[in-house]
Amino acid sequence: MSEILDLIAGLLVVTGCVFVLAGGIGALRMPDFYTRIHGASLTDSLGPVLVLGGLMVNAGLTLISVKLAAVMLLLMVTSPTATYALANAALLAGLKPEGVEHDTTEPEKPA
């Protein structure tokens, strides 16, 4: 029984790590800011959920699991909010998405 649980925990954590890494690579390699947000959001949502979920399976039904669940919930709530705030700030400051109306001049601030 405990071997199966260990296996499940390991599987969850490793899958989570794959998502975290993929998101990290996406945030580095994507062509412009707004697409990079897409990459980063992956590391902020699915990755932590899987990693923390795996650790919860590992810890069993204890206070540790409750704390992990709290961390997981908070991350699920806060990181989309942070992403929203970030995209909004960039748009407000005049950063244009690539390919929408491509101009090479400096992003103009509202004067």
């Binding site: 908070l74 709530v77 806060t78 989309p80 909010t81 929203y84 705030a85 909004n88």
Partner: protein, 325 residues
Amino acid sequence: MTMLLIGVFLLSLLVITAIAIVRSEDLFSAVMLSGIFSLLMALNFFLLDAADVALTEAAVGAGVATVLLLAGLRLIPPKEAPGRPLRALSVTVIAATALLMIYASFGQPTLGDPLAPTQQHIAPWYIEKTPELIDIPNIVTAVLSSFRGYDTLGEVFVVLTAGIGVMFLLGGGRGKPFSRLDSQAEQGLSGHLIPKVMARLLIPFILLFALFIQFHGEYSPGGGFQAGAIFVAGIILYSLVRGEGLALSVIPPRALLLMSAGGALLFGSVGVAGMLMGGNFLEYSVLAENPVIGQHIGIIVIELGVGLTVTGVLLSIFHAFAARD
């Protein structure tokens, strides 16, 4: 071994970040990079078995420091003027000093050496006597608030003095700076629905967590300094999303001043109370029949004083910056 290698990796990232902070000409970017710097620093503290310090760095660096720097940056030009070229002399001196210090490090005990001189004196005494004399699990809190209470009292007054200095310079408290409160720009992020709702959801938990850190600091990482910083982070979030005015009506400037000064006074008066009851200044053992219970009472009260002062000072500083135009 694994931990050592993880530490080496994190420290290398730390150096890279520091160089990037110094090199970046845009001050806003520098502030963001110093956010990363603080995160890395906290991770290193955690790795070096300093959970309390990591919590402090987390509370201060993640929330308060970035916000304060941004609030200050709002008032000054965002770009650094093109600098003078590298001065050969200063670079040589700096490099020579660095090399000298690295050379000197070969005489240092290696990381974690249990025979190092630092580990021989006084620290074993603290670790051995804490369960007996004070009987709380967190030795750091015991040393902070009881064994080295004088030191902490001094630090609290330094924090208070810095807060007073900022208020003198930028005009905290009443009058001109807060006249801007009813202007249009004072709505904060009220126009953004998602942050508003999420902040409303999270702020109670942040404040609750701050109270947990404050009053559970004897049993787990925590204490007045950390709790104060987390509490401030919660209130700052409130004033970011709902505007300065509302935040100031929740905790008015007068209350903040009272908290700052009152906390430090509370700390000091515990010391005086010890003197009146026949002990030395800041000797908690005489506060109750049982010396250990007396220690517990003293520690809880002075941690409360520390928390109040840190909250009051950091929040006044934030309001002083944010209200400036």
